[in-house]
């Protein structure tokens, strides 16, 4: 796939970074506004989609590091389940950092009660989805050239 024209590339260069900011905004405010981890993560993953379309795989693969996305995937998932485990003495997924509504009213934190682990889990899911969807894009793009390098059946050992 050849890179697109310089106008498209410049446009994508500019907007791709704003997409990350917007996605991060959606992730972080996921507990109080519409949106959340998955939606924000999907928006962040659009960053890679834009660059992939604008530059093509050959240019992109020069500086793309897959293991970062892999790491994000694992980190997000582990954060999520560990946050679940941390509520364990009470119950699994218990919201252990939340401040009870009565105390919020006393101290006057504002109209939004702090949501505790929900916000943290939202961020964890956002990180995970970012990694996962970006990896999905990368793998599906690679899949176009999947068997170009080796014969079908290169992996031996099972019957055919």
């Amino acid at each position: 796939m050849k890179p697109l024209s310089v106008v498209v590339r410049t446009g994508c260069d500019i907007f791709a970074w704003f997409l990350i900011i917007f996605g991060a905004y959606v992730i972080i405010h996921g507990d109080v506004t519409p949106g959340g981890g998955f939606q924000g993560g999907a928006v962040v993953a659009t960053f890679l989609a834009l660059l992939l379309v604008a530059y093509g795989w050959n240019r992109l693969s020069l500086w793309l590091n897959e293991s970062i996305y892999n790491g994000m995937l694992i980190f997000g998932l582990l954060c999520f389940i560990i946050l679940g485990f941390m509520g364990m003495p009470t119950s699994f997924f218990y919201n252990f950092v939340a401040i009870p509504a009565a105390e919020v009213a006393k101290t006057g934190h504002g109209i939004i009660p702090p949501s505790g682990t929900i916000a943290l889990m939202d961020i964890a899911v956002g990180i995970e989805v970012t990694g996962g969807l970006s990896l999905l894009l990368i793998y599906m793009f690679k899949g176009i050239h999947l068997f170009d390098n080796y014969e079908i059946g290169g992996e031996s050992g099972h019957d055919r």
């Binding site: 892999n70 995937l73 694992i74 998932l77 582990l78 999520f80 389940i81 679940g84 485990f85 509520g87 364990m88 003495p89 009470t90 119950s91 699994f92 997924f93 218990y94 919201n95 068997f147 079908i152 059946g153 290169g154 992996e155 031996s156 050992g157 099972h158 019957d159 055919r160």
Partner: protein
């Protein structure tokens, strides 16, 4: 705080943790990942065993996710249960025990069976996701959660069936399964949505306590029965099953057997606990009985003419699922009538439930031996195999035990559950018993064929270098063989301690509702 209260959450959380942490552990090399795989699935087995002990001693277990008190379903005077609630009664504990035994055996087996392939991190993660999805299906008490776990199990199994991605048949089987499975999952979701629209509750016990049979509920019942029957492989919708079972790696196929049992469990849960006495006419029980008889007979008659060993066994799974549907359907037929229930209904349910456990064990073992056959020889075609009994003595021995058990030869465990089913469905109509007996004979015939062509006969020159399979594969098979032998030797203990509590819990709709809604209907 009693740690045993948290068992229902732990049995889901541990396989999920196993799945999520696998990439981390596979950084440490192959050995560490294999140790991780086996130890996590062993931990799951231990947890399932504890749950079964706890439920046997203390009755229904309830776990509220994220609540201030994990065992309190309705805090502070609420009328409806709102959180995700896990509910484990005898039946769920029984199914979870069976499923986690198979999962452990498959994990041990896969260590050396999958040794030669790349992408094992993903394999291990998906394997645990499949285990978690299966256990979630079995222990959840929430309808939407049921759908989510159904989808987790489905997506993981699509990935695992297509794991040998350079093999066209595997991709094809996975795609076919995916299409059927997505359609049925969407029907399940529409049914669940309708129930939510009618009753504003997603909890199974909550819905069951309010359910009254109307137009929408009848539709919901039809949709749920058809969709879940498809997922467990019932006759007119079974075509994905031999494809998927034949093409998946053997360690996965053995887990897929347990996953299809989880769908069967879902079907039974819908019929017995969600609808129960309000099921209305005898239409749905008859549908299940007819489904059962049809899948039993047509499945086995397709199996007799197959010449590919795993495909043959895939057709046998259809016919064996038919037995369970027959037994449980007859039980459902007798549900409204206490006299019939005492006469034959409860025996039929016991037979069906016992057959679930037996089937899970011996069918998983059969798939593992088939995997061992083509690990050693590199082919699955029975026309090419032959004379392997002297080369692979352990595999032969375990295959013989499993084949005798599935054909219902006395004294093996398959006979006991089949006997219970034969003698109880006889009371409904003798035709069903005749069909079941013919099916049993045809099963024996096709396994005699497999045994004769694969293991007996003169040794072939092309298999001169064949050796017995490696240790971990034999260990995996030995676990299931041990389970079969124990089930064979202690049928009374198994019936009174494993099967009867499960069957009682399945019939006892009031107990299932009461555990969450607090006291009776």
């Amino acid at each position: 705080m009693n740690w045993q209260e948290h068992l229902p959450a732990l049995i889901l959380a541990i396989p999920l943790l196993g799945a999520f942490a696998t990439p981390l552990f596979s950084l440490g090399g192959k050995t560490l990942r294999n140790v991780w795989m086996v130890s996590i699935s062993f931990l799951t087995l231990v947890l399932a065993f504890f749950i079964w002990k706890y439920v046997g001693a203390n009755g229904v277990m309830v776990y509220v996710m994220g609540a201030e008190k994990a065992t309190l379903a309705l805090p502070s005077g609420m009328t409806y249960p709102v959180r995700i609630i896990l509910e484990i009664d005898g039946m769920s504990a029984f199914m979870a025990l069976a499923g986690s035994i198979v999962s452990f055996a498959g994990a041990v087996y896969s260590v050396q069976f999958m040794d030669r392939f790349t992408g094992m991190n993903r394999f291990t993660s998906l394997y645990f996701l499949l285990t978690a999805g299966m256990l979630g299906l079995m222990i959840t008490g929430d309808l939407f959660n049921f759908f989510v776990f159904l989808e987790i199990a489905s997506v993981a199994s699509f990935g695992l069936i297509a794991f040998w991605r350079d093999k066209p048949e595997a991709i094809e089987a996975s795609f076919k399964y995916m299409l059927i499975s997505q359609l049925s999952a969407m029907m399940v979701l529409i049914a669940i949505g309708t129930l939510y629209g009618r009753y504003n509750v997603l909890n199974m016990a909550g819905v069951a306590s309010m359910l009254h049979l109307g137009f929408a509920e009848k539709f919901v019942l039809a949709f749920l029965v058809v969709a879940l029957a498809t997922k467990c492989g019932t006759f007119p919708m079974h075509m994905w099953m031999p494809d998927a079972y034949a093409e998946a790696p053997a360690g996965v196929t053995c887990l897929l057997v347990a996953v299809s049992q989880a769908s069967l469990y879902g079907l039974m849960r819908v019929c017995f606990s969600l609808y129960g006495a309000t099921i209305g006419s005898t239409f749905i029980p008859w549908v299940i009985v007819i489904f059962g008889t049809a899948s039993m007979f047509f499945g086995v008659s397709m199996a007799v003419v197959q010449h590919e060993v795993k495909r043959l066994m895939g057709y046998h799974s259809i016919s064996q699922v038919g037995y369970m549907l027959l037994g449980l359907g007859v039980g459902l037929l007798a549900l409204g009538n206490p006299q019939a229930m005492a006469d034959y209904g409860f025996t039929a349910i016991k037979g069906g439930v016992y057959h679930i456990f037996n089937y899970t064990m011996y069918k998983a073992l059969l798939f593992l031996t088939a995997g061992a056959l083509y690990y050693a020889t590199g082919t699955r075609d029975l026309d090419k195999l032959g004379g392997l009994a002297r080369k692979m003595p352990y595999t032969t021995f375990m295959f013989a035990i499993a084949a005798a058990a599935i054909s219902g030869l006395p004294p093996f465990n398959g006979f006991v559950s089949k006997l219970l089913i034969y003698e109880s469905v006889f009371a409904v109509h003798p035709f069903f018993t005749v069909a079941a007996l013919v099916t049993s004979i045809l099963t024996l015939a096709s396994f005699v064929k497999v045994f004769q062509t694969a293991f007996l006969g003169p040794e072939k020159a092309c298999f001169a270098t064949v050796k017995e399979v490696p240790t971990s594969m034999i260990m995996g098979m030995a676990i299931l063989t041990l389970a079969i032998v124990l089930l064979t030797l202690f049928p009374t203990w198994v019936l009174s301690n494993l099967v009867e509590p499960a069957a009682k819990a399945l019939v006892d709709q009031g107990g299932y509702i009461g555990a969450i809604m607090g006291g009776g209907l």
